[in-house]
């Protein structure tokens, strides 16, 4: 296996791919012919997602968002051609680096992804080395934007912002419902994301003045097969509120175990992680999924762009409800919007020009809640805000902030036995 031969063959194959494959998304946007410039160039966006492996579910959800992004961009009036080049890094950090190199060598002008902090760290290094702008859709580890990178932009919370927003909304929730719990216990998954959240809670909780004592923090294994012991321990603290940082499967295990052990705290509140608002959660737990609360970034229910995305989604994925994919799809669509916007303003596919354009980003018409999309000197968007979501009859609904609320919040939650059939 001679590398040189391999390279030659690789190059040929790539050329073939390029000519055969200037396709899909470009065609969709080309639909509005009059305005297309004579020399309309195409922006190649390399999309890096974990579509197989442990994060497969999330990566595939993001991919679906990307699949409708071009249509949303076209409806928003971005006059650019986008070609998506998709790569699966198989939930493996090492592969994410090689895949990033691959996309760039195949002509990607910008990178988007990857729903994972470890992979984001690895991809960022490649992006920086190659001078290819990298727009992070989802990844919360604060270190990523602390390395002094010039080509890395994050349209997502850092763990600190996530938790800070989450705690603030908790206080608002207590005020809005005129209910003040006395104590809380915190359960979190012991992985990269869980630890980042735990760190932020340790730092921010004392200053948040929630008026409830944090009795204990209980960490559990992300691969835990059951959580009976963990829940029993949490129950034994006698806390009024259960705070959690979860993934999906463990969130289900957790609530199921609470029902079995007949533990009925005033509420289950998640200050910023996935799990409780996931479709899988509703499907599995039915009525027991109701009234759980998550404070997390969410789509603005009153935004026209949200409606656009929702309609495009419904057309393309009629079997998979938008509501079950909001966070993953929403941020992925926005990341691609950000790329399209920067490309339109830069008028070039040069990495430096694109990065400069990205630094001047100001997008008002967007999906997720919060102020306009803007990046600070570190490439971090600090304008995202969280919504307080409460599960109500099978979907997560915005209950706070009140100007965006779809329903008023209910707290404390009804006991497991008082929920009808």
């Amino acid at each position: 296996m001679m590398p040189s031969k391999d390279a030659a063959r690789g190059a040929k194959r790539r050329d073939f791919l390029k000519t055969a494959g200037a396709v899909t998304l470009g065609a969709a946007t080309l639909g509005a012919p009059a305005i297309v410039r004579a020399q309309a160039k195409t922006l190649n966006i390399g999309l890096l997602l974990p579509k197989s492996g442990t994060l497969a579910f999330l990566g595939q959800s993001c991919q679906k968002g990307a699949d409708i992004a071009a249509e949303v961009c076209a409806q928003l009036g971005y006059k650019v051609n986008i070609k998506l080049m998709s790569a699966d890094f198989e939930s493996n950090v090492d592969l994410s680096r090689a895949r990033a190199e691959k996309l760039i060598s195949e002509g990607a002008h910008m990178l988007v992804g990857p729903f994972d902090s470890g992979a984001a760290g690895a991809i960022a290094q490649v992006a920086e080395q190659k001078g290819v702008p990298f727009v992070i859709n989802i990844a919360a580890a604060p270190q990523i934007t602390e390395q002094g990178y010039k080509f890395v932009f994050r349209n997502f919370f850092t763990a600190g912002q996530l938790v800070g927003n989450g705690l603030k909304l908790m206080k608002e929730l207590f005020v809005a419902t005129k209910t003040q719990p006395k104590s809380a216990v915190y359960m979190h998954v012991n992985d990269t994301f869980g630890m980042a959240n735990k760190g932020a809670i340790d730092k921010l909780y004392p200053g948040a003045n929630l008026g409830m004592e944090l009795k204990a923090s209980i960490a559990y294994d992300p691969a835990a097969r059951d959580l009976s012991v963990e829940v029993a321990k949490a129950k034994a603290t006698g806390a009024d509120v259960l705070m959690v940082t979860t993934r999906i499967n463990d969130a289900i295990l957790l609530v199921r175990e609470m029902v079995k052990q007949r533990w009925e705290p005033m509420g289950i509140i998640n200050p910023g992680s996935p799990g409780l608002y996931e479709q899988q959660f509703f499907a599995t737990l039915g009525k027991y999924s109701d009234y759980c609360i998550t404070n997390v970034a969410w789509s603005d229910p009153k935004s026209a762009v949200t409606d656009m995305a929702k309609a495009a989604w419904a057309k393309k994925f009629p079997k998979d409800p938008w509501e079950g994919n909001i966070l993953n799809a929403g941020f992925t669509i926005e990341a691609i919007m950000i790329c399209a916007d920067a490309f339109q303003r830069a008028g070039s596919t040069d990495g430096k020009a694109l990065a400069d354009a990205l630094r001047k980003t100001k997008i008002e018409k967007k999906i997720m809640l919060g102020g306009p999309i803007e990046f600070d000197a570190k490439g971090q968007n600090n304008n995202i805000i969280s919504a307080c979501l409460q599960n109500r009859s099978g979907w997560a609904r915005v209950v706070l902030p009140s100007d965006k609320a779809e329903r008023p919040p209910i707290f404390p939650m009804p006991g497991w036995g008082n929920r009808g059939a």
């Binding site: 497969a56 294994d221 691969a223 835990a224 097969r225 009976s228 012991v229 034994a236 079995k260 039915g286």
Partner: protein, 288 residues
């Protein structure tokens, strides 16, 4: 606090019995065929998906689905042994290991393609019921699963003890050459053994489905767990596997109460390391 330990220990013991049944399958295969089945967890995951399909199509309770799934797994196991594994029986361990790793990779990813990455489960009516005895709360599914695991194990013990085929298989395990000399059809018996091991696994999968969700990628962790249980209990010892499943279940649960729950699997590995060092034949095993 003592309530907490009591609840944890009882819950751990009940789940442990089901783990024990899963490990029994591995123990049977390794004890007789001497093949290291590194695709054990992946095969069980397949059985769990089978049970889910049956539940969706015919509203079959996993407890009922145990029968068809076990039969199906038996046939698959028999076929796998005769078709693929048999030519590896006399090969070195690392080659067997590679073979089963390849099988595991294929199984895991076929499951990912077929069922998608989401966690799936079967929701039975009594899934969230529990019984309360004073401070002790036990959930119904766990009791059902543990009883069923004991019943299946009992049937297996009886098979090996009282039936002609069962005894022939044991003869094979004790003395391969001797078994051939006296004219036993070793290939067929190996196939049967692999099938029986797989059937145990199928039954265990159905029971676990009552307690847990299934994802396509969970295989390796169950493979590892099964190996730990078998080695702690003693390779080839059926009672040992069941007992050690119980032990692992209880010790993990108690460790979770006493220490940091996310570190509780350390205790299982520590248990394994200790057993390997001080009683390498396992709690109830014969000297390897």
């Amino acid at each position: 606090m003592s309530d907490l330990y009591l609840n944890a220990a009882v819950g751990g013991a009940l789940t442990g019995l089901v783990y024990g049944l899963m490990a029994l399958g591995l123990s049977v295969i390794f004890g007789v065929v001497r093949v290291v089945n590194f695709a054990h967890g992946e095969m069980m995951t397949g059985a769990m998906y089978g049970a889910i399909l049956l539940a969706q199509a015919f509203k079959l309770d996993p407890l009922v689905a145990m029968a068809p799934i076990a039969i199906g797994m038996f046939l698959l196991g028999y076929g796998l042994q005769r078709g693929l594994v048999n030519s590896f029986v006399q090969r070195p361990e690392h080659t067997q290991f590679m073979l089963m790793v390849a099988v595991a990779i294929i199984l895991t990813n076929s499951q990912l393609i077929a069922f998608g990455p989401n966690a799936r489960n079967v929701q039975v009516d009594y899934a969230l019921d529990s019984y309360q005895f004073g401070a002790l709360i036990i959930d119904k599914v766990r009791i059902f699963a543990a009883i069923a695991a004991l019943a299946v194990s009992g049937a297996l013990f009886a098979f090996f003890r009282f039936t002609l085929t069962g005894r022939a298989i044991r003869a094979c395990a004790d003395n391969y050459l001797g078994a051939q000399v006296v004219g036993l059809n070793v290939k067929h018996l190996y196939g049967l053994t692999f099938g029986i091991g797989a059937a145990c696994l199928g039954a265990a999968g159905c029971l676990l489905l009552l307690l847990l969700d299934v994802t396509p990628l969970q295989g390796p962790s169950y493979t590892l767990l099964a190996f730990i249980i078998v080695i702690v209990g003693g390779m080839g010892s059926l009672t040992g596997a069941l007992l050690s499943g119980l032990l692992v279940g209880v010790s993990e649960a108690l460790a979770g109460v006493a220490f940091d729950p996310s570190a509780k699997s350390m205790f299982t590995f520590a248990l394994l390391i200790l057993v390997l060092l001080f009683r390498p034949q396992g709690l109830l095993g014969r000297r390897p």
